[in-house]
């Protein structure tokens, strides 16, 4: 006989603590995620996002609509970009999840951009957890524009149970997402990631290619991956008058990425691959919203990933403080 508990179970309930045969009412995944984030960050985050940041908002745009692929563009010196990335997936045989990260990207120099990420995820019927942080730096060695512009990328990450899928390397696949959070969270991954980013701008098109090498510092072999993106604004010339939905406010493109095996077996065998259209829209107040459904190309991939992001850029961020001090 099925026993049923009618009270909702908290988001942080351990996934192994429920008796067999007991059915429980659990909150939806988004509700669960939002509730936990609010509980953990408190009203300070609300104040920051809702009151302080909009007062600094500056109109801006022209971000490329990529989620995984890096372009050759660097952050303008002194600008701070804050972006919230999200990915929703439902791996076959597993639970739906939403992986999120918040990114702080700052232009230190015209040739040097640094970024810091905080990652988290919520898995249906499991838990909502903070999964770690990442710190990355990008260096552009050539000061001028060329047909192909290289950028060197180095990242250190300390994560566990990460589901943000900001890159796919080695033999990453849908089976990684079947491990319960309780177990996956115990497996700390401290990794060094290197990328060679190549980007070109040609007649309004941006073409970007990334070659990825990642190594778990615990001693695993180097893993490899790639990402490729191509995009273009729907209209290149700007209109004379302000508009909300005019074509130059939209950028559309295609993104493809996947693993390339590791040093023990380089190639596409047992790797996951994704391809999908992507689009972004810059609102008149400078916020950029991006959406992309990305489809797994083989049985090793999650069938569909739904990605969305919101970003603000604060131009000359620290100059605000200088001015207020005068």
């Amino acid at each position: 006989m099925e026993r049923r508990m009618n009270r909702p179970v908290g988001c942080l309930a351990p996934e192994f603590g429920i008796q067999p045969g007991v059915s429980v009412d659990r909150p939806g995944i988004l509700t669960c995620f939002v509730r936990t984030v609010l509980a953990r960050t408190g009203y300070a985050a609300l104040l920051l996002v809702g009151v302080v940041l909009p007062s600094y908002l500056e109109s801006r745009g022209q971000e490329y609509p990529y989620f995984v692929t890096y372009s050759q563009e660097m952050e303008e010196p002194g600008n701070l970009d804050i972006e919230m990335f999200n990915v929703v997936g439902n791996p076959q045989g597993g639970n739906s999840f939403i992986g999120s990260d918040i990114e702080f990207e700052y232009g230190l120099k015209g040739w040097w951009t640094t970024e810091f990420y905080l990652d988290g995820q919520a898995t249906q019927n499991q838990s909502t957890i903070f999964t770690g942080f990442r710190w990355e730096n990008r260096f552009r060695p050539l000061p001028r524009e060329h047909w192909i512009n290289p950028v060197f990328y180095a990242e250190f990450e300390d994560t566990s149970a990460d589901k943000t899928i900001r890159e796919v390397v080695g033999h990453d696949g849908r089976y990684d997402f079947l491990v319960p959070n309780g177990l996956a969270h115990m497996d700390k991954e401290r990794e060094l990631e290197l990328k060679l980013i190549l980007g070109s701008n040609l007649r309004g098109w941006n073409i970007s290619e990334n070659f990825i090498a990642e190594k778990n510092l615990a001693g695993d072999p180097w893993e490899f991956g790639y990402a490729f993106g191509v995009s273009r604004p729907l209209q290149l010339a700007a209109r004379a008058h302000e508009c909300v939905f005019c074509p130059e406010k939209f950028q559309a493109g295609i993104e493809m990425y996947g693993g390339l095996g590791d040093t023990d077996g380089f190639g596409l065998h047992l790797t996951s691959q994704y391809l999908g259209p992507t689009v972004n829209w810059t609102t008149p107040n400078g916020m950029t919203v991006a959406l992309s459904p990305q489809f797994g190309l083989n049985g090793y991939s999650i069938p569909v990933l739904y990605r969305f992001s919101v970003s603000y850029e604060f131009q000359q961020f620290f100059s605000h403080f200088h001015r207020s001090g005068q």
């Binding site: 109109s59 745009g61 022209q62 040739w111 000061p143 180095a154 400078g286």
Partner: protein, 129 residues
Amino acid sequence: MTSRPALFFIAALLIISSSLAGFATSNGAWLTNVPQRERERANPYRDQPDAVAAGRRIYLDHCAHCHGNDADGTKKRPSLKSARVQQEVTDGDLHWLLVNGNRGQGMPSWVKLGDPQIWQVICYVKSLH
């Protein structure tokens, strides 16, 4: 034992940063780097009132924070109403600067705007004389 690779990574990062700092040397004479062919490029939007209006919008979005809302310059960034910008520098020169930037001096590349918007903002800047 993970602390040693982490320290190695940080040290490598600092070395790379230092070596790349050479690229950030100042280049106040950017005009001398502009190829003749680029200097002579004609602005396809020249004398179009709509291009000036569109260029003003682009300028306010991307340039005003450094160069000022009225392009008079700020503490560290130059005025765009100077005689050099308005008379000495050609549209082609400005196009080359906006495409390539002058990263050592803090001027980023705006190639991501695309040629039409770059020409439009040049129309606006040149209309300020």
